[in-house]
Structure formats: structure tokens, C-alpha cells
């Protein structure tokens, strides 16, 4: 029935409007959080730059880099992947991008006959790899949109432990790097061992004032400092990755929610047109029904009157007579004569 369809459409529009309100709110929230997350990324830069500098100075000065964290191992059997993504969905392709990149790496490791260890950061990553029956190591979750340094510390300590115990020979970070609010990219960065390239490829700037390294005084001795410094350095790297990932997550979510809002708007527009059309149709039908009904009610007398009109021989004859009279002068006589 036409009226029923209209009601259904109205319900759909209403639910669409509610959805739109939610997505709009999420868009605005994500938008405001991007700014904050960006500031946090910026605030972490001085520390990671300086600690990178210190690591470089120490490595240049001491020559005490016999720590496996620095030199690495000859044979790489097991690789550990620290996969950083979100706790929640509704952020477009954010989680999928990271997961796909990580899964590709893991698969190629398996093909090469190497072992892997997954450290998941974020609830979505955990469920993704669990569902696909990968062997999961330690999982971290609950802070993806606002990571603190303590979270990074926990991850860093776990990574160092894994490496020190010989469980893994290499650690890689998979996360989304925040370039600007408009662009982010999924990156895979080596974390441990801290080879020269790893240190250079970090988020810190390349040092220009080297050569002073040998003049340093150390207290306590360089080896001890290096041993306490390296875990801190790893934590700082993890922290920078977490902050980048959080900012990217907000950027992705804002974009996803913006397009969801736009889509909802479009849908509401289309549904409203359909609904109005349906309503117009039902109104037209109703008018037709009323007219028809009224006609049906009054039909008895009028029809009989018409019948009398039409069936009256003299009336009909008179009409046709006048018509022909008007059109031509000669014919009436002939027609009359015929009639007669």
C-alpha cells in the first residue's frame, strides 16, 4: 500500500539522520584530536633527537658496542613484528593498511622458512591475526588514540627482553607515519638491532657536529651508560611510532567519518525525494478515489437524465439540424428532405 511505503521511507530517513549525527560528531571529535596528537608528536621530537645524538656520540667515542642490541646477530632466524594500529574500527583503511603490510612480511618470512613473533598493539590488530590463526605473542591494547610514555616503555621493555633472551634476532616496527593531516603512509622500520643505518633512519636528525665524540668524559664508564641508554632509546623510538600512529588514526577517522556523513546526506536526499513522490502518488490516488466515490454516489440520477437527453429523438434531430444549418445553407433542405 502506498501509505505504508511512505511510512517505511520516513523511518529510514529518520534512522539515516541519527547515523549522520553520530558520524558528524565523530568527524568533529577526530578533527579536534588530530591537532592535539600532532602537538604530541612535535613535543616528542626534542627528546628523540637528543637521545639519538647521545647514542651516536657514545658509539663514536666508546667503541664499546659489543652489546647485541647494537651489533645484531649473524643469523636471523626469528623476526619480531611490532604491529601498531587502532583499538576501534570506523577509521577507513587505517587498520587494513597496517595489517596487510605486516601480513605480507610475515608470509614472506614463513616462505623463507623463518620464524616470526607478533606483538600486536591495538585491539583490532589482535583480533585480525587471531582470526587468521597466526601465533600471537604479547598483546597491548587500550591506548591507541592517546598513548602515554609508560605504554611505550612497556612495549620497549618487552621487545628488549625478547631480543636479549635470544628469542628473536630482529625487531621491526609496522605503523602508520603521520606526514600531514592530508597524508599518512604505512611504514616498516627496523628497531633492533640498532645498526648504524637504524640510528640514522630514525626520527631524529642526522648529526652534523661529530668528531667531538672522543673528547667526552664519561660517568660511569661508557659501557654502563650505553647499556642503560639503549633500552631508553628503543622506548623513545616506540613512543614516536605510537604517537605517529595515533595522529594517523585520528586523521583516517576524520576522513572516513566525513565521507560517511556526506553519504548519509546523499541518502537522505534521495530517500526524501522517493518519499515525497510516494506521498504525492498516494495523495493523487486518494483524490481519484474521492472523485470516483463521489461520482459513483451521484451517478444514478445524472446518468438517467443523460439517457433521457440522448434518447430523445426530437432533441437529437434538432441538434444535428442546427449544426448543419450553421455550416452550409443548401444542405439543410436536403437533410430535411432526407429525414422527412
Amino acid at each position: 500500500m502506498a501509505g505504508g511505503q511512505e511510512r517505511i521511507l520516513k523511518g529510514r530517513i529518520r534512522s539515516m539522520q541519527a547515523t549522520k549525527k553520530i558520524t558528524r560528531a565523530m568527524e568533529l571529535i577526530a578533527g579536534s584530536r588530530i591537532v592535539k596528537a600532532q602537538q604530541r608528536v612535535q613535543a616528542a621530537v626534542p627528546y628523540s633527537e637528543q637521545i639519538t645524538e647521545v647514542v651516536k656520540d657514545l658509539a663514536a667515542a666508546g667503541g664499546v658496542s659489543d652489546s647485541p642490541l647494537l651489533t645484531g646477530r649473524k643469523e636471523i632466524k626469528n623476526t619480531c613484528y611490532v604491529i601498531i594500529a587502532a583499538d576501534r574500527g570506523l577509521c577507513g583503511g587505517y587498520n587494513a593498511g597496517v595489517q596487510r603490510a605486516a601480513e605480507g612480511e610475515i608470509k614472506s618470512d614463513v616462505v623463507d622458512g623463518k620464524g616470526y613473533e607478533i606483538i600486536s598493539v591495538g585491539r583490532k590488530v589482535e583480533s585480525y591475526f587471531k582470526f587468521r590463526e597466526y601465533r600471537l605473542g604479547q598483546t597491548f591494547a587500550g591506548f591507541s588514540d592517546k598513548p602515554s610514555y609508560d605504554d611505550a616503555k612497556a612495549i620497549g621493555q618487552h621487545v628488549v627482553e625478547l631480543f636479549a633472551s635470544g628469542h628473536v634476532d630482529k625487531v621491526e616496527l609496522v605503523y602508520t607515519r603521520f606526514i600531514s593531516a592530508g597524508s599518512q603512509e604505512v611504514v616498516l622500520r627496523p628497531l633492533v638491532p640498532l645498526s648504524q643505518d637504524t640510528v640514522m633512519g630514525g626520527d631524529g636528525k642526522a648529526g652534523s657536529d661529530d668528531g667531538t665524540g672522543s673528547d667526552y668524559e664519561f660517568e660511569p664508564d661508557p659501557t654502563t651508560i650505553l647499556e642503560t641508554l639503549l633500552p631508553r632509546y628503543i622506548e623513545a623510538r616506540v613512543y614516536a611510532a605510537l604517537l605517529n600512529a595515533a595522529a594517523s588514526e585520528h586523521a583516517f577517522r576524520q576522513r572516513a567519518m566525513k565521507s560517511a556523513t556526506d553519504n548519509a546526506e546523499e541518502l537522505i536526499k534521495n530517500l526524501s525525494i522517493t518519499m515525497n513522490r510516494a506521498r504525492q502518488a498516494s495523495i493523487t490516488t486518494e483524490i481519484m478515489e474521492i472523485v470516483g466515490g463521489a461520482e459513483a454516489l451521484g451517478s444514478g440520477d445524472r446518468k438517467s437524465v443523460r439517457y433521457i437527453d440522448f434518447s430523445a429523438d426530437d432533441g437529437f434531430g434538432a441538434r444535428s439540424g442546427t449544426d448543419t444549418n450553421n455550416s452550409e445553407g443548401i444542405r439543410p433542405t436536403t437533410s430535411n428532405s432526407r429525414n422527412g
Binding site: 637528543q50 647521545v54 660511569p220 613512543y239
Partner: protein, 132 residues
């Protein structure tokens, strides 16, 4: 008067950045150490301590530093700490609580964690200007 640049940096924030005439902090095993302008290049690992930065105008900035590193080069002192707080921002009541809890635990057994908790509390209270 000669001065040097001092930066106290934690991962989440730059706590202090400016000119100073002297910095006193404490390294692991080495005890307290003071840096003045023109100090030779130095690299050290820090203990939980009350770090004092003597500003050019004569005032003192108190900072509770819970471990970290100090690097001195080119007339610049950088203190890197993954946990540090300004003395003016220390929650004194909380620090007192932490101190008494740590002392309570140490009375029963020797616990490395409690020892470091105690020295953290000391550093905090000292930085806040309370003698313990």
C-alpha cells in the same frame, strides 16, 4: 656573566629550556656533579635526584629527575629523562604518601623497587622545597 644553554627534556615535553649559570645533578655512582659554563664535553647516566638549575637572574629552578642522561657539549647542558617533573608541579601529598609507603615496606624487607620508590619520593620532595 657567562652563561650556558640548559634543556631538560622528557619524551612528552620540554620541561625547561633557557640560559643558566650552573646545573647540579647526580650521576650513577659518581655522586653530585655541577656544570658551569665552559665545562668540557661530558656524558653521564643519572640517578633519581633533585636537579637544580641556577638561572642567570639568581633564582633556582628545581626539577625532580628520575633517572636519565646528561650530555654536555658546546656550552650546552641537555638533561634527558623519561620521567621528570618541575618542583613547582610536584604533588607533595602524593610524594609524602609514596615515601611513607616505601619506608614501611623497607622496614620489613629489602626491596629494590621500594628503594627506588623512596629515592624518587625524596627527589620529588626536595625539588618541591621540602627537606626530608
Amino acid at each position: 656573566m657567562a652563561s650556558m644553554t640548559v634543556e631538560v627534556v622528557s619524551p612528552e615535553d620540554v620541561l625547561y629550556s633557557g640560559e643558566a649559570t650552573m646545573v647540579i645533578t647526580r650521576t650513577i655512582g659518581g655522586g653530585e656533579i655541577a656544570f658551569q659554563p665552559g665545562h668540557s664535553a661530558f656524558l653521564g647516566a643519572l640517578q633519581e635526584c633533585h636537579t637544580r638549575v641556577y638561572l642567570a637572574d639568581g633564582s633556582i629552578e628545581d626539577i625532580a629527575v628520575h633517572g636519565g642522561f646528561v650530555e654536555v657539549s658546546n656550552n650546552k647542558v641537555s638533561i634527558l629523562s623519561d620521567a621528570a617533573e618541575l618542583g613547582s608541579l610536584v604533588d607533595v601529598d602524593r610524594a609524602r604518601d609514596a615515601k611513607s609507603r616505601a619506608e614501611e615496606r623497607l622496614r620489613h624487607e629489602h626491596d629494590a623497587e621500594a628503594v627506588s620508590a623512596l629515592s624518587r619520593a625524596h627527589a620529588r620532595l626536595n625539588a618541591a622545597g621540602i627537606s626530608v
